[in-house]
Amino acid sequence: MIGFATRRIVQAMIVMLVVALLAFTMFRFVGDPINQMVGIETSIEEREALRERLGLNDPVPVQFFRFVTKAAQFDFGTSYQFRQPVSELFAKRIPATLELSFASAVFALVVGIPMGIYAGLNRESPVSKLFLSVSLIGISLPTFFIGILLIFLFSVTLQWLPSFGRGETVQIGSWWTTGFLTISGLKALILPSITLGLYQMTLIMRLIRAEMLEVIRTDYIKFARARGLPDRLVNFRHALKNTLVPVITITGLQLGAIIAFATITETVFQWPGMGLMFLQAVQNVDIPIMSAYLLLTAFLFVTINFIVDILYFFIDPRLRVGRP
């Protein structure tokens, strides 16, 4: 186990290095940061000078090396647009994103899993068919479109829920702010988390359904029924657990995706999280923010996938054989 973990940590570092390298190669294609940093009337000479000062004229390997050595000390530089240290900016934005992701993950799982089980067990029931179809329509519309429709309905027309922002937040500890403790904070969470979790919910629901359909026809489920176990046990403990390997994989990936790519939802709802900042950074070619963000997501995915791999072993004892 320890060997396994250390190996994964080493691998994680390699992954992050590669991500950083790729990111660096890529930034040249995103746009010219200078244009975003200065007004359009700034002269060519001044632009050149600025470019020189930022080190943007150095060869990519030099820039890369500089970046990596600094990043190793948790210094991701200063944002071009905000003129603030990137690490500070992220510290402020992370709680918002994590809370939103958490809420939408909960939504996706709490709705997706039971509905998936229900639809798997009652293949022909009209309720499950209806649910499957409606959720499909939900995902075939773009996220921004869904967000706007929800805002239109619940904010503009009904005026029940806020259309943007986090509402009132409460400070916990030195840097965490939470919206979970105020009414307006909770209200503000509803629309964005539904928008963000819809795709995940649909995917999880359909996956569970598909896997359930297979598992409930296996001998051990038949035998579990023959033993007179209550449906709850059969369905959840035996059937569900046996569907979990693909479901966990996808859920893991999707949770990662929720956190990492909340960009569109955050933009639509002006949610002050990392995703919003990232998208602005892409638009403004704010290289320090982009690279820090990519490293953060890389870290996130490596961690999530590590956890998923560990979960495999917990879920399926057959996989433990011959594993370190």
Partner: protein, 504 residues
């Protein structure tokens, strides 16, 4: 009263010299003040300077207002002006051009300052409404003399805090999230507004911004998409405020390369031929664009500058929309069957920019010119078409607001010759070169007589018009969404000043 408003972009740094950009300067204009300011009609008014005079052509004298206090309580004096001039011209400042580099500041007494120039400059103070005066003591004490520039690894005090003389103090600021202002009771001027607190939230998505207004969560949002104006007006409790803006939207063409980059015409550049350019001009149905794309919220323009900024603009008229004539011109130039051309267009910069480009593409298609449209977000777009991208474009859409509200700025930036690296007029992306315009530009700069000056400007514009060096389209309109509870002033420079707001 509390004023809540949203803008599409964020207020990033609070340092008034960090970024030369309308919204930043506009926001900070509520906190900081310059020696001058502009009134509702953009007329220059005295602000921190009570009055000024041109002592001799190269010496301007400013008499400063007495008894003005910064938000931190320190007095405003000539020292602060001299300090600000030094700071605005220092390395890292994005507003260095506000004061000519060779101008000297002489402190006559605590409340009198002289600016000594190397040559006459009638428009010296035109941009000074956005050249804000900072407190020398506060800045020095907080170790913020150096302007926080993009290349700095840490932001200094001035980038995160503000200390001006203006009507509102910034009490909290989280870049990209929220900025809160509070009324400054010690303001030197008499407050005509009744606002105590202002909350600013950036909302990037158009639809969300409009929704926030419609749902009553915001008192004022801007800009609003032209198509939503009707909806906002129909909605009880909100209205749309529109007005002319100073920005001119135009199309530019590559007239420098001998072969177009993105075209099926090889070995020559059709756009070097004035007939082709004029054909383009006459193929564009500007009224159609105005009606359908801009929903009547634009002023078709024959000039590269807003009529508000140039007295003689009425003398110019657009070439009429005439596809037949355009075809004839093309045929005359040897392109009876048309040709293909690549067009670059931003899709998140100007009002309906991409839609305009598409409409133009369709109109050109009617005279046989096949346009391959490449619409991109502004970051990529500017990186491609400006000097830094090697002017990699054949045909592009751009907007220009002369920062000094004066035509010379247009001539200097857009219409003079340039070389490959952008020396000359850096934003003359098409790279056309007309010696006469260059010559006129130089003369206009030093001409003090307004009459003569305007005549020369008109002459330069006439040359451009006749040769169709550019294809001006229109001045777009400002569109703000406002709650009925608000009474405010919409200035043509798109600055939102809280001091004009009353809420009831």
């Amino acid at each position: 009263e509390t004023l809540k408003f949203a803008f599409q972009g964020a207020l990033n740094a609070l340092d008034p010299y960090s970024l030369n950009e309308t919204f930043t300067l506009s926001s900070l204009g509520n906190t900081y003040e310059g020696l001058t300011r502009r009134g509702p009609d953009l007329a220059i008014e005295p602000a921190l300077a009570e009055s000024w005079e041109i002592v001799d052509p190269n010496r301007w004298r400013f008499h400063l207002r007495k008894g003005v206090k910064f938000h931190n309580g320190s007095d405003f004096t000539a020292e602060d002006v001299a300090f600000s001039v030094d700071r605005v011209r220092s390395e890292g400042s994005d507003l260095t051009t506000r004061v000519p580099a060779d101008a000297k500041v002489e402190i006559v007494d605590d409340y009198t300052v002289d600016f000594v120039l190397t040559g006459p400059n009638p428009i010296l103070h035109y941009e000074w409404d956005t050249f804000y005066i900072m407190d020398k003591e506060w800045t020095t004490e907080n170790d913020a003399v150096k302007v926080t520039s993009a290349s700095d690894t840490s932001a200094n005090h001035a980038a995160l805090n503000a200390n001006g003389t203006g009507p509102f103090k910034i009490v909290s600021h989280e870049a990209g999230v929220k900025t809160v202002y509070e009324k400054y009771d010690g303001w030197w001027d008499e407050a005509k507004h009744n606002i105590d607190t202002v909350e600013f939230t950036p909302i990037g998505s158009d639809a969300t911004r409009v929704a926030a207004l419609l749902s009553g969560e915001m008192d004022m949002v801007y800009p609003i998409p032209v198509q939503d104006i009707k909806r906002i007006n129909d909605n009880a409790g909100t209205k749309a405020l529109t007005g002319p803006e100073l920005r001119t939207i135009f199309l530019g063409m590559d007239q420098m390369r001998d072969e177009l980059l993105y075209s099926d015409v090889k070995g020559k550049n059709p756009l070097k031929d004035a007939r082709v350019r004029k054909a383009f001009y006459q193929a564009i149905d500007i009224e159609g664009i105005k009606k359908k794309v801009m929903r009547d919220l634009s002023n078709p323009s024959a000039l590269m500058v807003s009529p508000l900024l140039f007295s003689k603009s009425a003398d110019f008229e657009r070439y009429p929309y005439d596809p037949e004539a355009a075809k004839a011109l093309l045929a005359e130039a040897g392109y009876a069957d048309g040709f293909s051309i690549g067009m670059d267009c931003p899709n998140d910069r100007y009002v309906n920019d991409e839609a305009i480009c598409q409409a133009v593409a369709a109109m050109l298609a009617r005279i046989g010119v096949k346009v391959n449209l490449n619409a991109q977000p502004k970051a990529k777009y500017f990186a491609k078409i400006l000097a830094s991208g090697g002017y990699d474009t054949s045909f592009y859409l751009l907007g220009w607001t002369p920062g000094s509200f004066d035509s010379w700025n247009v001539l200097d930036n857009l219409m003079n010759c340039r070389d490959e690296s952008g020396k000359g007029s850096p934003f003359n992306n098409g790279g056309f070169c007309d010696e006469k315009i260059d010559q006129l530009t130089d003369e206009i700069l030093v001409e003090i007589d307004p009459e003569k000056r305007d005549a020369m400007i008109a002459e330069a514009f006439r040359i451009s018009h006749e040769n169709a060096y550019y294809l001006p389209l229109h001045q777009q309109s400002l569109a703000w969404g406002v709650s009925d509870k608000l009474d405010l002033v919409q200035r043509a420079d798109n600055q939102f000043q809280f001091r004009f707001v009353t809420k009831n």
